[in-house]
Subunit: 199 residues, 2 copies
Protein backbone atom coordinates (compact mmCIF):
# COMPACT_ATOMS: atom_id res chain seq x y z
CA UNK A 1 0.00 0.00 0.00
CA UNK A 2 1.39 3.34 -1.14
CA UNK A 3 -0.48 5.29 1.51
CA UNK A 4 2.72 5.60 3.49
CA UNK A 5 4.19 7.70 0.75
CA UNK A 6 1.03 9.76 0.37
CA UNK A 7 1.14 10.55 4.09
CA UNK A 8 4.83 11.31 3.81
CA UNK A 9 4.08 13.73 0.98
CA UNK A 10 1.29 15.36 2.99
CA UNK A 11 3.64 15.81 5.91
CA UNK A 12 6.17 17.50 3.70
CA UNK A 13 3.45 19.74 2.32
CA UNK A 14 2.43 20.76 5.81
CA UNK A 15 6.01 21.44 6.77
CA UNK A 16 6.42 23.63 3.73
CA UNK A 17 3.14 25.38 4.42
CA UNK A 18 4.38 26.30 7.90
CA UNK A 19 7.47 27.95 6.44
CA UNK A 20 5.38 29.68 3.77
CA UNK A 21 2.89 30.91 6.35
CA UNK A 22 5.66 32.26 8.56
CA UNK A 23 7.22 34.15 5.68
CA UNK A 24 3.85 35.48 4.58
CA UNK A 25 3.10 36.84 8.06
CA UNK A 26 6.52 38.43 8.33
CA UNK A 27 6.20 40.07 4.93
CA UNK A 28 2.83 41.50 5.91
CA UNK A 29 3.43 42.47 9.52
CA UNK A 30 7.15 42.24 10.22
CA UNK A 31 9.25 39.92 12.34
CA UNK A 32 7.91 41.20 15.66
CA UNK A 33 4.41 40.06 14.72
CA UNK A 34 5.35 36.47 13.97
CA UNK A 35 3.84 34.03 16.44
CA UNK A 36 3.16 30.33 16.54
CA UNK A 37 -0.56 30.87 16.88
CA UNK A 38 -0.65 33.13 13.84
CA UNK A 39 1.17 30.53 11.79
CA UNK A 40 -1.33 27.96 13.03
CA UNK A 41 -4.21 30.20 11.96
CA UNK A 42 -2.85 30.50 8.44
CA UNK A 43 -2.31 26.78 7.97
CA UNK A 44 -5.65 26.10 9.65
CA UNK A 45 -4.32 24.03 12.50
CA UNK A 46 -3.68 24.75 16.16
CA UNK A 47 -0.31 25.82 17.44
CA UNK A 48 0.93 22.55 19.00
CA UNK A 49 0.85 20.86 15.58
CA UNK A 50 3.79 22.99 14.50
CA UNK A 51 5.93 21.28 17.13
CA UNK A 52 5.57 18.02 15.23
CA UNK A 53 7.43 19.60 12.34
CA UNK A 54 9.83 21.92 14.12
CA UNK A 55 11.28 21.53 17.58
CA UNK A 56 10.47 25.15 18.37
CA UNK A 57 10.14 28.62 16.88
CA UNK A 58 13.89 28.88 16.45
CA UNK A 59 13.73 25.78 14.29
CA UNK A 60 11.47 27.61 11.87
CA UNK A 61 13.80 30.62 11.82
CA UNK A 62 16.74 28.31 11.22
CA UNK A 63 15.06 26.74 8.21
CA UNK A 64 14.06 30.11 6.80
CA UNK A 65 17.63 31.30 7.24
CA UNK A 66 18.84 28.36 5.19
CA UNK A 67 16.29 29.17 2.49
CA UNK A 68 17.56 32.74 2.47
CA UNK A 69 21.14 31.67 1.93
CA UNK A 70 20.10 29.42 -0.93
CA UNK A 71 18.24 32.26 -2.64
CA UNK A 72 21.14 34.63 -2.10
CA UNK A 73 23.59 32.10 -3.48
CA UNK A 74 21.57 31.63 -6.65
CA UNK A 75 21.28 35.37 -7.16
CA UNK A 76 24.98 36.03 -6.64
CA UNK A 77 25.98 33.17 -8.92
CA UNK A 78 23.65 34.45 -11.64
CA UNK A 79 25.23 37.89 -11.34
CA UNK A 80 28.67 36.43 -11.74
CA UNK A 81 27.66 34.41 -14.77
CA UNK A 82 26.18 37.48 -16.44
CA UNK A 83 29.61 39.03 -16.87
CA UNK A 84 32.86 37.96 -18.48
CA UNK A 85 35.37 40.35 -17.03
CA UNK A 86 36.56 39.49 -13.51
CA UNK A 87 36.20 43.01 -12.18
CA UNK A 88 32.73 43.37 -13.61
CA UNK A 89 31.83 40.02 -12.14
CA UNK A 90 32.81 41.05 -8.62
CA UNK A 91 30.98 44.34 -8.88
CA UNK A 92 27.85 42.64 -10.25
CA UNK A 93 27.97 40.12 -7.43
CA UNK A 94 27.99 42.76 -4.71
CA UNK A 95 25.25 44.67 -6.46
CA UNK A 96 23.24 41.45 -6.54
CA UNK A 97 23.89 41.06 -2.81
CA UNK A 98 22.66 44.62 -2.34
CA UNK A 99 19.53 44.01 -4.37
CA UNK A 100 18.78 40.82 -2.48
CA UNK A 101 18.87 42.69 0.82
CA UNK A 102 16.04 44.97 -0.26
CA UNK A 103 14.05 42.63 -2.49
CA UNK A 104 14.13 39.95 0.19
CA UNK A 105 14.34 42.30 3.12
CA UNK A 106 12.76 39.84 5.55
CA UNK A 107 15.25 37.10 4.66
CA UNK A 108 18.16 39.49 4.99
CA UNK A 109 16.99 40.73 8.40
CA UNK A 110 16.86 37.17 9.61
CA UNK A 111 20.13 36.01 8.06
CA UNK A 112 22.19 38.88 9.38
CA UNK A 113 20.33 39.76 12.56
CA UNK A 114 19.21 43.19 11.48
CA UNK A 115 16.42 44.01 13.92
CA UNK A 116 15.73 40.32 14.46
CA UNK A 117 16.83 38.25 17.41
CA UNK A 118 18.06 35.38 15.32
CA UNK A 119 19.55 32.48 17.17
CA UNK A 120 23.28 32.52 17.73
CA UNK A 121 24.12 29.06 16.52
CA UNK A 122 24.05 29.70 12.82
CA UNK A 123 27.77 29.12 12.70
CA UNK A 124 28.94 26.80 10.01
CA UNK A 125 25.77 26.68 7.96
CA UNK A 126 26.84 25.13 4.65
CA UNK A 127 24.23 27.12 2.73
CA UNK A 128 25.87 30.30 3.98
CA UNK A 129 29.34 29.22 2.97
CA UNK A 130 28.35 28.79 -0.65
CA UNK A 131 27.90 32.52 -1.19
CA UNK A 132 31.00 33.33 0.80
CA UNK A 133 33.01 30.98 -1.38
CA UNK A 134 31.69 32.64 -4.52
CA UNK A 135 32.97 35.99 -3.31
CA UNK A 136 36.33 34.60 -2.22
CA UNK A 137 36.80 33.01 -5.64
CA UNK A 138 35.92 36.22 -7.43
CA UNK A 139 38.30 38.25 -5.27
CA UNK A 140 41.13 35.78 -5.74
CA UNK A 141 40.70 35.92 -9.50
CA UNK A 142 41.67 39.57 -9.27
CA UNK A 143 44.79 39.02 -7.21
CA UNK A 144 47.78 39.01 -9.53
CA UNK A 145 50.55 38.53 -7.02
CA UNK A 146 51.17 34.83 -6.50
CA UNK A 147 50.95 32.86 -4.33
CA UNK A 148 47.54 34.10 -3.22
CA UNK A 149 47.58 34.52 0.55
CA UNK A 150 44.50 33.60 2.50
CA UNK A 151 45.01 36.72 4.58
CA UNK A 152 44.70 39.21 1.77
CA UNK A 153 41.54 37.70 0.27
CA UNK A 154 40.03 37.50 3.72
CA UNK A 155 40.89 41.13 4.36
CA UNK A 156 39.38 42.25 1.08
CA UNK A 157 36.31 40.11 1.53
CA UNK A 158 35.56 41.57 4.94
CA UNK A 159 36.20 45.08 3.73
CA UNK A 160 33.66 44.62 0.95
CA UNK A 161 31.21 42.86 3.17
CA UNK A 162 31.45 45.37 6.01
CA UNK A 163 30.87 48.29 3.73
CA UNK A 164 27.91 46.79 1.93
CA UNK A 165 26.35 45.21 4.99
CA UNK A 166 26.79 48.46 6.89
CA UNK A 167 25.11 50.44 4.19
CA UNK A 168 22.27 47.93 4.04
CA UNK A 169 21.81 47.87 7.82
CA UNK A 170 21.71 51.63 8.04
CA UNK A 171 19.07 51.70 5.33
CA UNK A 172 17.02 48.89 6.83
CA UNK A 173 17.01 50.44 10.30
CA UNK A 174 16.96 54.18 9.81
CA UNK A 175 15.41 54.11 6.40
CA UNK A 176 14.79 57.34 4.67
CA UNK A 177 18.15 57.66 3.00
CA UNK A 178 18.62 58.94 -0.49
CA UNK A 179 18.80 56.08 -2.96
CA UNK A 180 21.03 58.00 -5.32
CA UNK A 181 23.63 58.53 -2.63
CA UNK A 182 23.47 54.86 -1.73
CA UNK A 183 24.16 53.84 -5.31
CA UNK A 184 26.99 56.34 -5.49
CA UNK A 185 28.58 55.07 -2.29
CA UNK A 186 28.13 51.47 -3.36
CA UNK A 187 29.57 51.77 -6.83
CA UNK A 188 32.43 54.10 -5.99
CA UNK A 189 33.42 52.15 -2.91
CA UNK A 190 33.33 48.83 -4.74
CA UNK A 191 35.56 50.26 -7.44
CA UNK A 192 37.89 51.76 -4.84
CA UNK A 193 38.27 48.49 -2.95
CA UNK A 194 38.87 46.59 -6.19
CA UNK A 195 41.61 49.05 -7.05
CA UNK A 196 43.38 48.41 -3.76
CA UNK A 197 43.36 44.64 -4.20
CA UNK A 198 46.83 44.56 -5.69
CA UNK A 199 48.44 47.27 -3.59
Amino acid sequence: MGSKERIQRQKEDTRKSILDAALQIVKQEGWAALSMRKIADVIEYTAPIIYEYFSNKEGILFELTKQGYVHLGIKVKAARDSKENAEEQLEAMWLAYWDFAFEEKEYYQLMYGVQVNCCELYTKMPEAEYTTDLFYDAIEKLITKLPISEDISCLKYYTFWSLIHGLISINLVQKGANDEINQQILRSAIKAIIKTIND
Copy 2:
Protein backbone atom coordinates in the same frame (compact mmCIF):
# COMPACT_ATOMS: atom_id res chain seq x y z
CA MET B 1 7.77 73.94 53.23
CA GLY B 2 10.52 72.65 51.01
CA SER B 3 9.11 69.14 50.99
CA LYS B 4 7.92 69.69 47.42
CA GLU B 5 11.50 69.85 46.30
CA ARG B 6 12.47 66.84 48.34
CA ILE B 7 9.70 64.85 46.70
CA GLN B 8 10.74 66.18 43.31
CA ARG B 9 14.29 65.01 43.99
CA GLN B 10 13.08 61.60 45.09
CA LYS B 11 11.08 61.27 41.91
CA GLU B 12 14.10 62.09 39.84
CA ASP B 13 16.09 59.55 41.78
CA THR B 14 13.50 56.87 41.11
CA ARG B 15 13.42 57.75 37.44
CA LYS B 16 17.17 57.46 37.25
CA SER B 17 17.11 54.19 39.18
CA ILE B 18 14.72 52.75 36.59
CA LEU B 19 17.13 53.57 33.80
CA ASP B 20 20.07 52.25 35.80
CA ALA B 21 18.22 49.05 36.62
CA ALA B 22 17.29 48.51 32.97
CA LEU B 23 20.88 48.95 31.87
CA GLN B 24 22.13 46.68 34.62
CA ILE B 25 19.77 43.89 33.59
CA VAL B 26 20.70 44.26 29.94
CA LYS B 27 24.41 44.16 30.72
CA GLN B 28 23.92 41.01 32.76
CA GLU B 29 21.36 39.13 30.67
CA GLY B 30 21.05 40.88 27.32
CA TRP B 31 18.29 42.88 25.70
CA ALA B 32 15.94 39.93 25.25
CA ALA B 33 15.80 39.43 29.01
CA LEU B 34 14.74 42.98 29.84
CA SER B 35 11.23 43.13 31.26
CA MET B 36 9.21 45.64 33.23
CA ARG B 37 8.78 43.23 36.13
CA LYS B 38 12.52 42.63 36.33
CA ILE B 39 13.17 46.34 36.45
CA ALA B 40 10.54 46.60 39.18
CA ASP B 41 12.27 43.86 41.16
CA VAL B 42 15.58 45.68 41.04
CA ILE B 43 14.17 49.03 42.16
CA GLU B 44 12.01 47.24 44.75
CA TYR B 45 8.67 48.37 43.42
CA THR B 46 5.97 46.69 41.39
CA ALA B 47 5.77 47.05 37.64
CA PRO B 48 2.93 49.60 37.31
CA ILE B 49 5.00 52.18 39.18
CA ILE B 50 7.33 52.43 36.20
CA TYR B 51 4.45 53.79 34.12
CA GLU B 52 4.39 56.90 36.28
CA TYR B 53 7.87 57.72 35.07
CA PHE B 54 7.77 56.40 31.49
CA SER B 55 4.77 56.08 29.25
CA ASN B 56 5.83 52.57 28.28
CA LYS B 57 8.81 50.30 27.74
CA GLU B 58 9.71 52.11 24.56
CA GLY B 59 9.99 55.28 26.60
CA ILE B 60 12.74 53.69 28.65
CA LEU B 61 14.55 52.55 25.52
CA PHE B 62 14.21 56.02 24.07
CA GLU B 63 15.82 57.57 27.12
CA LEU B 64 18.64 55.04 27.15
CA THR B 65 19.23 55.72 23.47
CA LYS B 66 19.64 59.40 24.24
CA GLN B 67 22.09 58.54 27.02
CA GLY B 68 24.02 56.44 24.56
CA TYR B 69 24.34 59.27 22.07
CA VAL B 70 25.56 61.60 24.78
CA HIS B 71 28.26 59.15 25.83
CA LEU B 72 29.28 58.55 22.25
CA GLY B 73 29.45 62.27 21.54
CA ILE B 74 31.74 62.85 24.52
CA LYS B 75 34.03 60.03 23.49
CA VAL B 76 34.30 61.15 19.88
CA LYS B 77 34.91 64.75 20.87
CA ALA B 78 37.67 63.67 23.27
CA ALA B 79 39.29 61.66 20.48
CA ARG B 80 39.24 64.68 18.21
CA ASP B 81 40.73 66.92 20.85
CA SER B 82 43.54 64.48 21.49
CA LYS B 83 45.06 65.14 18.05
CA GLU B 84 46.23 68.23 16.22
CA ASN B 85 46.43 67.05 12.65
CA ALA B 86 43.12 66.93 10.80
CA GLU B 87 43.69 63.48 9.32
CA GLU B 88 44.76 62.06 12.64
CA GLN B 89 41.71 63.62 14.22
CA LEU B 90 39.30 61.92 11.83
CA GLU B 91 41.01 58.58 12.23
CA ALA B 92 41.00 58.88 16.01
CA MET B 93 37.32 59.78 15.97
CA TRP B 94 36.31 56.68 14.03
CA LEU B 95 38.50 54.53 16.22
CA ALA B 96 36.74 56.04 19.23
CA TYR B 97 33.40 55.20 17.61
CA TRP B 98 34.65 51.66 17.14
CA ASP B 99 35.78 51.36 20.75
CA PHE B 100 32.48 52.71 21.99
CA ALA B 101 30.58 50.03 20.11
CA PHE B 102 32.37 47.29 22.01
CA GLU B 103 32.91 48.98 25.36
CA GLU B 104 29.27 50.03 25.46
CA LYS B 105 27.93 47.17 23.42
CA GLU B 106 24.44 47.36 24.92
CA TYR B 107 24.10 51.05 24.13
CA TYR B 108 25.33 50.52 20.59
CA GLN B 109 22.90 47.67 19.98
CA LEU B 110 20.07 49.87 21.08
CA MET B 111 21.15 52.99 19.24
CA TYR B 112 21.68 51.30 15.92
CA GLY B 113 19.18 48.45 16.10
CA VAL B 114 21.72 45.64 16.12
CA GLN B 115 19.75 42.67 17.39
CA VAL B 116 17.37 44.95 19.23
CA ASN B 117 13.93 45.98 18.12
CA CYS B 118 14.44 49.62 18.87
CA CYS B 119 11.55 51.86 18.10
CA GLU B 120 11.45 53.48 14.68
CA LEU B 121 10.86 57.04 15.74
CA TYR B 122 14.36 57.97 16.72
CA THR B 123 14.53 60.31 13.80
CA LYS B 124 15.75 63.77 14.57
CA MET B 125 17.13 63.08 18.01
CA PRO B 126 19.31 66.08 18.78
CA GLU B 127 21.68 63.99 20.89
CA ALA B 128 22.38 61.87 17.82
CA GLU B 129 23.07 64.82 15.59
CA TYR B 130 25.86 66.09 17.81
CA THR B 131 28.16 63.19 16.92
CA THR B 132 27.17 63.31 13.27
CA ASP B 133 28.08 66.99 13.17
CA LEU B 134 31.47 66.28 14.69
CA PHE B 135 32.24 63.85 11.90
CA TYR B 136 30.96 66.16 9.19
CA ASP B 137 33.13 68.97 10.51
CA ALA B 138 36.19 66.75 10.61
CA ILE B 139 35.59 65.53 7.08
CA GLU B 140 35.05 69.02 5.73
CA LYS B 141 38.30 70.17 7.28
CA LEU B 142 40.05 67.74 4.96
CA ILE B 143 38.32 68.91 1.80
CA THR B 144 40.60 71.32 -0.02
CA LYS B 145 38.48 72.09 -3.04
CA LEU B 146 36.26 75.08 -2.31
CA PRO B 147 33.36 75.62 -2.07
CA ILE B 148 32.70 72.52 0.02
CA SER B 149 29.68 70.76 -1.40
CA GLU B 150 27.21 69.16 0.97
CA ASP B 151 27.05 66.17 -1.36
CA ILE B 152 30.68 65.21 -1.14
CA SER B 153 30.90 65.40 2.66
CA CYS B 154 27.67 63.43 2.92
CA LEU B 155 29.04 60.80 0.56
CA LYS B 156 32.26 60.47 2.51
CA TYR B 157 30.48 60.42 5.85
CA TYR B 158 28.21 57.59 4.80
CA THR B 159 31.07 55.67 3.30
CA PHE B 160 32.97 55.85 6.57
CA TRP B 161 29.93 55.11 8.64
CA SER B 162 28.78 52.19 6.53
CA LEU B 163 32.13 50.52 6.64
CA ILE B 164 32.63 50.92 10.36
CA HIS B 165 29.05 50.17 11.31
CA GLY B 166 29.08 47.13 9.05
CA LEU B 167 32.24 45.82 10.61
CA ILE B 168 30.81 46.40 14.08
CA SER B 169 27.48 44.74 13.26
CA ILE B 170 29.15 41.70 11.82
CA ASN B 171 31.25 41.39 14.96
CA LEU B 172 28.33 41.95 17.33
CA VAL B 173 26.12 39.39 15.59
CA GLN B 174 28.41 36.67 14.32
CA LYS B 175 31.15 37.29 16.81
CA GLY B 176 34.21 35.17 16.67
CA ALA B 177 36.14 37.22 14.16
CA ASN B 178 39.81 37.82 14.40
CA ASP B 179 40.53 41.07 16.18
CA GLU B 180 43.76 41.63 14.27
CA ILE B 181 41.94 41.46 10.96
CA ASN B 182 39.33 43.88 12.23
CA GLN B 183 41.98 46.40 13.21
CA GLN B 184 43.68 45.94 9.85
CA ILE B 185 40.44 46.47 7.93
CA LEU B 186 39.52 49.46 10.08
CA ARG B 187 42.81 51.30 9.87
CA SER B 188 43.54 50.60 6.21
CA ALA B 189 40.00 51.39 5.11
CA ILE B 190 39.91 54.65 7.06
CA LYS B 191 43.18 55.71 5.49
CA ALA B 192 41.94 54.67 2.04
CA ILE B 193 38.73 56.68 2.35
CA ILE B 194 40.63 59.71 3.64
CA LYS B 195 42.87 59.51 0.59
CA THR B 196 39.90 59.59 -1.77
CA ILE B 197 38.39 62.66 -0.14
CA ASN B 198 39.98 65.05 -2.61
CA ASP B 199 39.68 62.94 -5.75
